[in-house]
Symmetry: C2
Subunit: 242 residues, 2 copies
Amino acid sequence: MSEFHYNPHISVDCVIFGFDDEKINILLIKRKQEGENIYALPGDLVQKGEDLDVAANRVLYELTGLENLYLEQFKTFGSPDRTSDPVDVEWIKSVREHPEARVITVAYNSLVKTEDFDYRPSSFAEEVLWHPIEKPQKLGFDHNEIANTGWAMLREKIKREPIIAFSLLPEKFTLRQLQTLYEAIVGLELDKRNFRKRMLRNKFLVPMNEKETGVSHKPAQYYRFDDAIYKDDFAKDQWFLF
Amino acid sequence: MSEFHYNPHISVDCVIFGFDDEKINILLIKRKQEGENIYALPGDLVQKGEDLDVAANRVLYELTGLENLYLEQFKTFGSPDRTSDPVDVEWIKSVREHPEARVITVAYNSLVKTEDFDYRPSSFAEEVLWHPIEKPQKLGFDHNEIANTGWAMLREKIKREPIIAFSLLPEKFTLRQLQTLYEAIVGLELDKRNFRKRMLRNKFLVPMNEKETGVSHKPAQYYRFDDAIYKDDFAKDQWFLF
């Protein structure tokens, strides 16, 4: 066995979630592959001398056109047979040598507003799309596992740092908008009255002297997110002592 | 440039923290290296066809004799020059070919009671030791950065899941023991009265009908950790709604 086989390829994969004011979507590419319709996460090999974070940003940009996102590394996936599905091997043959070589991948995630980012497919991506996370979609390689892990870890992070979720809302928002976002993240429909009662206990949610205008229904009150109260209330060191 | 240079080596590094009833220590090895005293984290290359988690357990065992720990992957470090310090290169030359090859490393951490684990150096480890984390120690490669990141991420986890810390105490413990542990994790000395007052607000801390015996000072009350109350109180889904 040559040295080559011993040294695996290293890739990066990007799990990008986007909120479109209604639901959470995941950014997928459709591979250029004759006779197959395979969707996958945007990902590719790390280059010689390239830092991992730099590679993640480059690969995402090259395949989808998205740039200037905050990408966070969340886990590395290295199961020895993660690229051995025959359909995947067939595709790898078309883009690089040594399709049998092991590939270990470092996964990154991010959460954005879909409207803030333009996309266009290029390189080996035939298509780029925002796919709703509640709709099942089989992905290439072990990308379903990577996507699920990426979402689970992001949700845990939002639990600890809710400010991440509020960054997806406009500066002034209604409780209806907040409930829609909240339900999209938690993945549950919630009772409106209960939601409002409990949510308003959070002091960082501040009512404004302003209501919706130009709507056919009863205009709703606007709220804003108060960063200072949040930091005081929520983001302080939460050791079990306190 | 041959394919070999393009495909980096992959290694695993283990950041093991151990509580010895007084302080938190980190498990280090001293490398077998002529004329040098270099300490490092236990780590080595992943083998062909070997899963990452399996590699971490194997490498830790081979170098230190520690086995049956719960190792958790926390981050992958891949800076292109992380193994280029001349002293490190010199050492790599003595253990493997291609000392100039890039090495990307997947890091794991764990927190144990030191008394639960025997250790003995073997392979390229000349020595194994528990080093107190409050005492600075220069390590080989980028191992200081890896160790610091491993500790920071573990502390964050303990904040969210204090049960991890309680697993380091005996089944019955005094408030003095709890304070010692707490100070070791937080890295601060705390006022005894205040600590007790605030800590006892946690209902999962249950006083027992039992006191210390055979001590020269006034016997202290024993407490136990109540798993059920903890789960009810603390471990429930902490979405910002509630």
